[in-house]
Symmetry: C2
Subunit: 222 residues, 2 copies
């Protein structure tokens, strides 16, 4: 029988999944706004970050209620506490998408991304979307094998991040300081977004296994 307690726990997961959906859309739109110097889209991303913050606050409130009115133990307790941590990570991911949209807005009507780096930014945006999609799958399915995949995708993000710096520091860089600053910050935001997605997946591993060891994670598989 479903009781109010377990319904509330499910609602908590539902809110987390809704957060993943919002921050995925935000990052996808932020990347487009950055590449296409799309001011309207940038403004949309910036405005919609409030929705992410609101969900974060709702999750926090519901967690306090659950803990104060129930005595959650074992996996329920871990679900509640890791939800708080995941919500914090997802909130930061929304912020990072917003920061990228703000770069797009600041450089409009120019694009902040010079032609030689568009491919790299497209790839970073695509990995970011991939990561949040997998993190969302992790949250729903609690399939901890997926968590390993996120670590690998994050390595790809780091590789692209380093490529940005190689281009910026090459002798033939001729796009000036302002563009270099934009790229430096945008690169950092993509890299941080990816890191937070990995942390969400790691929290799922903790939730399922009760441990933080990613290598040991697969020994808990059925």
């Amino acid at each position: 029988m479903r009781d109010a307690y377990h319904e509330e726990l499910e609602a908590l997961t539902g809110r987390l999944v809704e957060m993943t959906r919002l921050v995925r859309t935000a990052m996808s739109q932020a990347t487009t706004a950055l590449l296409d110097a799309d001011l309207e889209l940038a403004e949309t991303v910036i405005a919609q970050d409030d929705g992410v913050d609101l969900l974060h606050a709702e999750i926090e409130t519901s967690i306090y209620e659950l803990m104060a009115t129930q005595q959650p133990v074992a996996v329920d307790l871990r679900t509640i506490v890791t939800s708080l941590q995941m919500a914090a990570d997802l909130e930061r991911m929304g912020d990072h998408a917003g920061h990228i949209a703000k770069i797009a807005r600041m450089r409009h009507p120019e694009s902040a991304i010079p032609p030689g780096l568009r491919g790299t930014i497209v790839e970073m945006g695509s990995i970011a979307e991939n990561l949040i999609t997998k993190a969302a799958d992790c949250v729903v399915s609690r399939d901890i094998r997926l968590a390993r995949e996120l670590e690998k995708d994050d390595d790809d993000m780091d590789r692209l991040h380093r490529r940005l710096f190689r281009v910026l520091l090459a002798k033939d860089w001729d796009h000036g300081i302002e563009t270099a600053i934009d790229i430096t910050l945008a690169g950092r935001y993509y890299e941080r977004y990816a890191d937070h997605a990995v942390r969400v997946a790691r929290d799922v591993v903790y939730l399922v296994t009760g441990g933080r060891d990613m290598d040991a994670a697969t020994t808990h598989l059925p």
Copy 2:
């Protein structure tokens, strides 16, 4: 009478205070390493970040134990849950100090900071230290008036952060792209460090008042 439960709660606060001490020292040393191109000091900061991470993990474990074995309510519950959030913020502050130390290490034997920006970096380092000192005071004293002061100090940090960009984007900037990237990232790390310190103070307000409204905070004063 002190029982094991309240002793464990106090130990939790003790570990948080120890984290503030470590990340204050880390940032102070990272700033010195950055300004003086002190490789040894930079390596010390980077190596000692493990200690911060370890405390974070200990706090997390002790929180699960407290929640699983006790049924904390009201202020105790808020103490436990906000401790988890504060520990996460403090851990990030240690990371940011470490990132600054890594810039110092990468540019050694040169200093990453050109003469015209040393004063600004000194000020940013000093505000960072101020912020973590006040955040630590907040954690110990639960004096929520202090939390307001942190918001003001954070505004000063943001002002200095903007000054960095003005210097970088001025027509007479002649320190090249590499230094511009270092300054952009270092500025971001100081600004983030400050933000996390403010979040720690906000968590103390939440702990004491049960609400997130900073303006309402003072109405809870005795």
